[in-house]
Assembly symmetry: C2
Homo-oligomer: 213 residues x 2
């Protein structure tokens, strides 16, 4: 019952993680972090409300911790993509398939980012934005080292990556919602998503960097 064989610190860490996970779950369920209460989080994590304060000053602090957590998840995703190597001929469709399966397993993370990028408190919004910017920069760095789109300057490649990331994140709620509707609208959403990515890469392939004399 009390996690035998664990040190006090390990147990504390477990409770902390339970709180974070509970908050993430409730946020994706409610649609926004702001409408999740401290008491709900504690209840879901299986502790008394006052235990919350051993881990976070308030919900704002937990929210920021959640962003950091989700940021780590994003970096793991990137690391795996990196291991998969250079995108090939039908790269977009393959990547989309991979992303969709990732999405169904990590619904909560993506929905959290999507909703708090726009909907959260200023501090939360800012933190999410920073994680996404950072993610795009790392992705650009990876693509550069794979010699992908070599005609683009690095800052331009970063902008392209930011656009891809942002497209992926904001397609997620549309696609996840469409799962609850008929199969046709689901396919339509996915096709729309594929089209968007294709258009971005098509545009990026054609982009001419302005001449610098």
């Amino acid at each position: 019952m009390h996690g035998e064989g664990l040190t006090r610190l390990e147990r504390k860490q477990r409770t902390r993680e339970a709180l974070l996970e509970a908050a993430l779950m409730l946020t994706s369920q409610r649609g926004s972090f702001a409408s999740v209460s401290l008491r709900e989080v504690a209840r879901e994590a299986g502790v008394v409300p006052t235990a919350f304060y051993r881990h976070f000053r308030d919900m704002d602090e937990l929210g920021l911790a959640l962003v950091a957590d989700v940021g780590e998840w994003l970096r793991r995703l990137l690391r795996e993509a990196r291991a998969a190597g250079l995108p090939d001929v039908d790269m977009v469709r393959r990547s989309v398939r991979a992303y969709l399966s990732y999405l169904s397993e990590n619904r909560q993370h993506v929905l959290f980012i999507a909703s708090e990028r726009t909907g959260g408190s200023p501090a939360l919004r800012r933190a999410v934005r920073e994680e996404l910017d950072r993610f795009a920069r790392e992705m650009a760095h990876d693509l550069r080292s794979l010699d992908f789109l070599p005609h683009l300057l690095l800052p331009t490649l970063e902008l392209v990556c930011a656009m891809v990331v942002h497209t992926m994140i904001s397609a997620a709620p549309d696609i996840l919602d469409s799962l609850e509707e008929d199969e046709a609208s689901q396919e339509r959403r996915v096709e729309g998503f594929v089209f968007q990515l294709r258009l971005i890469f098509l545009g990026a392939g054609q982009w001419k960097e302005p001449e610098v004399p």
Copy 2:
């Protein structure tokens, strides 16, 4: 004090509008509709909480009415764009300038759409999505009749428009937030936004419709 010279119906309509406006304002202030309470809306509109029920069954119903309202605003925006006529050479930069000034005057509408497209209740999310889809379809229709991107099939043009709309909506919170930061980051956000639109049109210009035998 009691709006002399107005019929009872006109006064009721006024209160209704005051409630909607209050809700819109509070939503853009809080970052999400879900974290605005019925009592706050009534207070802001200058009526007692129970008067709310003369106009809406609950906050969900008011939310949907708000979507309809904002949808009308979108259509007005489109009508004005239509009157402005065919986009010209430096169309993107001109349009962006126009959009930015529109944005600063209609902050609340855009922020409402942006946050509830992802963050709201399922019904609200769906309603917002429908308004945006409809908006994109009308925009595609307009561009078609102006012979813009004539090599694209109408469904493709609709996808391009959906992408533009969606890029505009989701750039809005980034840009509005950047106004509170230094001028450099503001310029960076706007440049990123311009780049995204350019890339979309560049891609759309290059798009080859698949051959149908």
